[in-house]
């Protein structure tokens, strides 16, 4: 079944084949410009491809927003080692559900993006690392890959150009941390999914210690149109330092949740109110997680802004992975904070102390606060502990746990206070002692 018809306010570029019947098949793909960009790229020089991507101002769609062309340029061209392409399809950031649509409805676009990237850096092998829970997508990707092999868009001597490129899927086993690029590479190599020391970065030493281009699904998927229509065209769709369109995944308290493609810089409130159908009748906006649960939460009055990197940074949050979670005034922010920290506690790989121990401690305190047996000092403690994790962990997961927590406690403190245990603390007695008897 094809995906929902696009909303009129969308700018559909990478999602433009979602709505076609049989969109995942190679025939549909070829009938709608499929592999044209790859065909073109196969005749381009490595530098020309990378320059086009640099001109496009494409920034990584996985969360960190690193300029893609620049990353590709870091691959040491002279290195005698093989180069690899790795697709990050671990999509696990709460609120984010765009990569699955790309793979479900337009898998050949991803293959095409990989092929162009491979040509750009001289790679002959790639893997699509798909989160274990996306089992059904593995079948779809495998089928598309088989079709591509059959039509010689993968394999030896692609389209008679003499260029070889092999691609296969690899499944994760259910760890959010394996979406972090270096943990992903460990997992891909068959090891425990925990991050590596960086530098070196994957572009220099990635899979099996070889130069590796690792990007998000959506990032690779943006590449074919850049090659087809030019970097300048793509850049012109977005804002000065971030080109193109993005898929916004809007979930939560809206009437028509879904995935929508908008140019970078699209106003947040329009996305919520027009595309996602606005809030339920009688409800008011309370808060928005703008780009996946790792981002600081915005209060309703902070949400009137364009969805681009700089504007969100100025508002103290991040564009992240495009996973927007809309919370209306029925939301219990203590529960929201607990839910978020439960996720990070569960997903902390345990490698480093502040994240391993901090997330569990936070979960325990927030559980008490939610149970109505917290004491006043707990509120500050939550904020302080999160601050003590921030910037000190081995990988960014620790920050991802700390940032939303800090923002919720700061912005919704009154809700925490209203939930404190109703006990009299005798003068001179520590609050924490009292709590034990609650």
């Amino acid at each position: 079944m094809p995906y929902n018809k696009p909303h009129p306010a969308e700018t559909i570029i990478i999602s433009r084949r979602f709505h076609l019947p049989n969109s995942a098949s190679i025939d549909t793909f070829l009938a709608h410009d499929g592999y044209k960009a790859a065909r073109k790229a196969l005749d381009m020089s490595q530098d020309d491809i990378i320059n086009e991507v640099k001109k496009s101002n494409l920034r990584g769609r996985g969360g960190a927003g690193f300029p893609t062309g620049m990353k590709w340029g870091f691959v040491p061209r002279q290195s005698p080692k093989p180069k690899y392409i790795v697709v990050n399809a671990d999509e696990s950031e709460p609120g984010t559900c765009k990569d699955r649509l790309l793979m479900e409805f337009d898998p050949h676009r991803l293959i095409e993006g990989c092929l162009i990237a491979a040509k750009a850096v001289g790679a002959h092998q790639g893997w699509v690392y798909i989160r274990g829970e996306y089992r059904y997508l593995i079948d779809i990707m495998d089928k598309a890959i088989a079709e591509a092999y059959k039509a010689n868009w993968l394999g030896k001597n692609v389209q008679g150009t003499g260029f070889d490129f092999d691609l296969s899927t690899h499944t994760g086993a259910g760890a959010y941390e394996c979406g972090e690029e270096s943990a992903l590479l460990e997992s891909l190599e068959g090891k425990r999914g925990q991050p590596r020391i960086r530098p070196p970065f994957p572009a220099v030493s990635g899979a099996f210690q070889c130069p590796t281009i690792l990007n998000n699904v959506e990032t690779f998927c943006a590449v074919p149109d850049i090659i087809l229509n030019g970097g300048d065209w793509y850049a012109s769709l977005g804002v000065p330092r971030a080109g193109g369109t993005r898929l916004l995944c809007i979930s939560g308290h809206v009437q028509s949740p879904g995935v929508f493609e908008v140019p970078i810089g699209f106003p947040m409130m329009r996305a919520i109110n027009e595309m996602a159908g606005g809030l339920r009748p009688g409800r008011k906006l309370k808060a928005v997680i703008p780009g996946g649960s790792s981002c600081p939460v915005l209060k309703a009055d902070e949400c009137d802004l364009p969805m681009d990197y700089d504007s969100l940074a100025k508002a103290g949050s991040m564009l992240g992975s495009g996973g927007m979670v809309i919370m209306d005034d029925s939301t219990d922010m203590v529960k929201a904070a607990l839910r978020i920290i439960k996720f990070y506690q569960h997903e902390s790989c345990g490698w480093c102390i502040p994240c391993r121990e901090g997330t569990l401690w936070l979960k325990k305190i927030l559980t008490r606060l939610d149970d109505g047996i917290g004491v006043r000092s707990d509120i500050d403690l939550v904020g302080e502990l999160a601050e003590n994790m921030l910037g000190r962990t081995f990988c960014p997961l620790g920050d991802a746990a700390a940032l939303p927590t800090i923002s919720i406690v700061k912005k919704f403190r009154a809700e925490f206070e209203a939930r404190l245990a109703q006990v009299q603390v005798p003068a001179g007695v520590s609050e924490s002692l009292v709590r034990i008897h609650v």
């Binding site: 760890a175 941390e177 425990r192 020391i197 506690q345 569960h346 997903e347 902390s348 790989c349 345990g350 490698w351 480093c352 102390i353 502040p354 391993r356 121990e357 901090g358 997330t359 569990l360 401690w361 325990k364 305190i365 008490r368 403690l381 502990l385 003590n388 910037g391 000190r392 962990t393 081995f394 924490s432 709590r435 034990i436």
Partner: protein
């Protein structure tokens, strides 16, 4: 060194080689940056976050354990932000830590305690329920208490990188992460205890030492392991005249922190219930306990009679005795008893090597050369089983300097895991010759060989080494703690001290056993009649000095209980000629050091063999044994003095057929090993290869 990098740490101008890690550069200039997971010599983890410091121009605190120094870097290790981070990381760490210091083995020498003492908060803000997991026993020697574990992964690395065993890994995740044996719930490993030793806290504890004592109640006695010939320093923890632990935390020995199961745990034989504690004399066919005076008198009187009658006296020396004892024994035998029949259980053809190297300098390798040589060739030896420390050195060399390892062995050995080439053959010389072209490529080479290369083959091996055109050094492997010293001191029928031909060539051990005329056999710490063998001479008067009633002792006329290496002082020489000092750790009631026993017998016989006293005998050794004129202060301070090369013509070469290694494994140690319950309790020594 390329141009040094200049940086400032805590206001101090510091220079360091490019590529130096900040934590090392700081240490070199006397600034200690706190660390749990960083451990010199092992791979980097950046996991504990204790080493975060402030570095100018970096927006965040930086991990000093992974940050290379850079020109102009300005570092503040005690900046308020860094100190605050440390304090809070410790606070996080303690949340699930049981804080059972009062009963923890590590209490008093725990890095977590020290760190909390220095940086920790005075009060705990954690009022939640701690996560608890029950303690697990992984093997007779290794226990794991997960709640105490701080997940520094040192144990995982020492086992993988240091030991080449890879027995440990991590299971579960997040705050529930635990260390676990990689294969199932128990350890089938080297049982070396390195993981326990390197653990900064009391998470890994030893089955031998746990809950025995507090560290401050022990006396720490640095001595030398009495098992194999590698000569590791071990620090005995002695309490109430009992050894409760062996370790090497002060790292001052040639072995650094290394010890194998034997050095760390196999001291328990000294307290075995079969230990001899009283002299015995055979009366009416039975051995009866007598006083020392009586026993010594019996020996002296009989020796004197036999000597006067011109009867043949055979003397079997020990591979565990000190140099002083062996030297004194051969001198007493040759000069006092007037007998040339002296021998010991030979396990490597050292005389043949010394002869083959005549005229060369710097041709004998040390334990240190195995760590520095560009290439190592192992011939007929399973180093990981028989010479655990030498094997460790080779692994460290591969890890730190990418040394090339070659093996020529009959079957698979662990060294093959990292070997550039491994050859399986029983024709060792042919195997070695096949590697000539490969070996030539390296800047230098150490050849380590076992008893498969002896007699003429040693000369052929050295000729092969000469043909390579690169500097080659050699190690001739021998079995036990003073096997090498026994030879150097001249416990050989053909050779006296320093490999000088003996004035009169005596009988070898098999010849003594086969001799119809043998009038006496004096056995010191050896078991030539093991397995119930009998002397051909029915009339021989047999005297045995030993710790246990060996097969030979069972046939003896007089049995004298002797002290083990842990109960006496003196010097021993390891497989690579490094002379080190034993330090007495305790007394076992009734037993006496061999040297003291020799002195008593000599005195009772009225023979002057010099003073039977360690310092006096060692002075004589320094003067009269080639290579042993070593500086005394080195020994006195617990160091290893290298015997000078004694390479030179050996005019009478001993019979190579008598060279035979006992072929001990990691978990055996000749007759001593049989009395070690801990060695008996671990599973069979694991096979050669762990990985794969």
């Amino acid at each position: 060194m390329s141009n040094p990098v200049n940086l400032t740490i805590d206001g101090k101008a510091v220079q360091a080689a490019p590529g130096t890690l900040l934590i090392d550069a700081a240490k070199q200039s006397g600034i200690l940056i706190p660390a749990f997971c960083y451990y010199e010599g092992y791979s980097l983890q950046a996991a504990c976050r204790m080493c975060l410091v402030e570095v100018e121009k970096f927006p965040k605190l930086q991990a000093a354990c992974t940050l290379p120094v850079a020109e102009g870097m300005v570092v503040r290790t005690e900046a308020a932000s860094a100190v605050q981070a440390r304090k809070t990381t410790l606070e996080f760490l303690l949340t699930n830590h049981p804080l059972d210091c009062p009963v923890c083995d590590k209490g008093g020498e725990c890095e977590l305690q020290d760190m909390v003492f220095r940086y920790g908060a005075g009060e705990s803000r954690f009022t939640e329920v701690k996560h608890h997991v029950d303690e697990k026993q992984w093997s007779p020697v290794v226990y794991y208490d997960a709640p105490r574990c701080i997940l520094c992964y040192r144990c995982v690395r020492v086992c993988d990188e240091g030991m080449g065993v890879t027995a440990l890994g991590i299971t579960h995740r997040g705050a529930y992460s635990e260390i676990t044996p990689n294969k199932g719930d128990h350890l089938n490993c080297d049982q070396c205890g390195a993981c326990i030793d390197i653990c900064p806290v009391g998470a890994l504890t030893s089955g031998i030492y746990r809950y025995q004592t507090r560290p401050w109640e022990m006396e720490h006695v640095g001595t030398i392991c009495t098992h194999c010939s590698d000569g590791c320093k071990t620090t005995l923890g002695v309490r109430n005249n009992e050894i409760v632990r062996g370790n090497n935390r002060d790292s001052t020995g040639i072995n650094g922190e290394f010890l194998c199961i034997k050095g760390r745990y196999a001291f328990d034989f000294i307290k075995h219930e079969d230990r001899l504690q009283s002299p015995m004399v055979r009366r009416n066919g039975k051995l009866e306990e007598v006083s020392w005076a009586e026993a010594v008198k019996a020996v002296a009187a009989r020796f004197a009679e036999i000597k006067a009658a011109g009867g043949a006296i055979g003397v079997a020396g020990s591979v565990h005795s000190t140099n002083e004892e062996s030297y004194f024994l051969q001198k007493f035998a040759r000069q006092g008893l007037g007998t040339p029949h002296i021998d010991h259980a030979r396990s490597g053809d050292v005389p043949a090597l010394i002869h083959a190297l005549a005229g060369k300098t710097d041709a004998l390798a040390t334990a240190d050369s195995l760590y520095h040589a560009k290439a190592v060739l192992v011939v007929d030896a399973d180093l990981s089983q028989q010479h655990p420390f030498l094997a460790f050195q080779v692994r460290a060399n591969v890890r730190h300097h990418q040394a090339a390892v070659y093996t020529v062995t009959r079957g698979p050995v662990r060294e093959e895991q990292t070997a550039a080439k491994a050859v399986h053959t029983a024709d060792y010389l042919a195997g070695v010759r096949g590697l000539g072209e490969d070996l030539k490529k390296h800047a230098d080479l150490v050849i380590v060989f076992g008893d498969g290369i002896k007699g003429a083959a040693v000369g052929e091996l050295v000729a092969f080494g000469d043909s390579l055109g690169i500097p080659v050094r050699y190690v001739c492997l021998v079995d036990y703690s003073n096997s090498r010293g026994a030879m150097d001191m001249g416990l050989l029928p053909e050779l006296g001290p320093g490999y000088h031909p003996a004035a009169v060539r005596g009988m070898s051990l098999p010849q003594m056993a086969a001799s119809q005329d043998l009038a006496a056999l004096w056995v010191v710490g050896a078991d030539p009649l093991a397995g119930g063998k009998r002397l051909a001479s029915g009339k021989a008067f047999v005297v045995v000095q030993d710790l246990f009633l060996t097969d030979t002792a069972k046939q003896a006329d007089v049995v004298l209980p002797s002290a083990s290496a842990y109960e006496k002082s003196g010097t021993v020489t390891n497989v690579t000629g490094q002379i080190q000092r034993l330090k007495k750790g305790l007394n076992i009631m009734g037993a006496k050091p061999d040297l003291e026993i020799f002195g008593l017998i000599a005195r009772a016989m009225g023979v002057d063999a010099g003073r039977a006293q360690n310092e006096a005998v060692f002075e004589e050794i320094r003067k009269s044994v080639r290579g042993y004129n070593v500086p005394l202060p080195v020994l006195a301070t617990g160091g290893a003095a290298q015997a000078q090369p004694v390479n030179g013509r050996v005019d009478v070469l001993p019979d190579p057929e008598l060279v035979r290694s006992a072929g001990d494994t990691l978990f055996t140690s000749g007759s001593l090993g049989r009395y070690s319950k801990i060695l008996g309790s671990v599973m069979e020594a694991p096979g050669a290869l762990y990985k794969g």
